[in-house]
Symmetry: C2
Subunit: 186 residues, 2 copies
Amino acid sequence: MALEHAILVSLLEKPGSGYELARRFERSIGYFWTATHQQIYRVLKRMETDGWVDVREVPQQGRPDKKEYSVAVLGRSALSSWLHEPIEPESVRHDLAVKIRGAAFDDPAALIHEVERHHQVHTDRLAHYLAGERRDFTGPEAPAALDAGQQLQHAVLRGGIAYERMTITWLEDVLDTLHALKPERT
Amino acid sequence: MALEHAILVSLLEKPGSGYELARRFERSIGYFWTATHQQIYRVLKRMETDGWVDVREVPQQGRPDKKEYSVAVLGRSALSSWLHEPIEPESVRHDLAVKIRGAAFDDPAALIHEVERHHQVHTDRLAHYLAGERRDFTGPEAPAALDAGQQLQHAVLRGGIAYERMTITWLEDVLDTLHALKPERT
DNA sequence: CTTGTCTATGCAACTCGTTGCATAGCAGGA
DNA sequence: TCCTGCTATGCAACGAGTTGCATAGACAAG
């Protein structure tokens, strides 16, 4: 599993609490990995007992205290050895594709709304990614010279952008197919 | 969960045994959903007790007997109601993206091999999909007129092709980024 | 005749991930 | 004052998915 490693990467980029990690996983890390706060707390606890991360109690004003985690030496070497071992190319799990094939045995026209809804979600995500790209990498506010970490983050973000663009185009293709099918079923 | 529904769709397209389903999930259905035989057998058993599928013992010659499953009335209505309820747009889980961001804290050059390996796998998958498309949809052997089911299957396959093409292009982008990074770290 | 491979089904144990719920401090508004 | 909402952490139970192992008939190769 890679959640531990995703957490290590995130903590290396910036130390933080479980709560903060959960919010990062809703944002930038969430572009390519998702996790709920329960999962994160559980894994953080295990990583702590394994000595992968260090904890520091941080008293706060105006809000509850937090535990700030940072990567320990053991965690860094665990990440390093994971980086050096090969992983299986991921296999997709796409509910919507199951639905599209299933629509042949039901009413294909009823799917149009659902596909349009997904189209909208992906359009919004694309806009969100592009805004992030302008802010951090290509806009006037972006740093002139990017370090290795930033260049790699940008490459990952470009992947997210390419994914959303591809998905949007495909969903339009699916919509065309559904519309072309519709008249046949009167 | 959608494994039950993926099985229903597959059985509607063609009835079959758990073993046959497992092989379909390695092939065409596997383009957008994966499952091992243990998972399939377990779910099939539950679907049988729920009355979603009918079983028929089929004696065979030259090989063990099999249980052929087909979709029952209850299964059809279960699929239908699932098709009519909205699903969450999927969130991606991309180990490789975690590795790429993590590489900033290790040796980015060490990732080049891994990315090239993934590039090869996706190139092979693309070739496999394109061969399937020619065979079933666009080649001289393909049927002249496609029914609704075939048109929707083709649309899903086009999605797989678009996904592989996008991934291949992105991995080349990542490779360029890694190569450009390399000289900086001597 | 033994070994390996393919078809065919299944159990048991485990890990991963989700859902529901609980607690608690603090802030702001009705 | 009470209610809502945000920060912050966590338990318990369940469901989904993986891994290892077991069984068994048939066939082909050595």
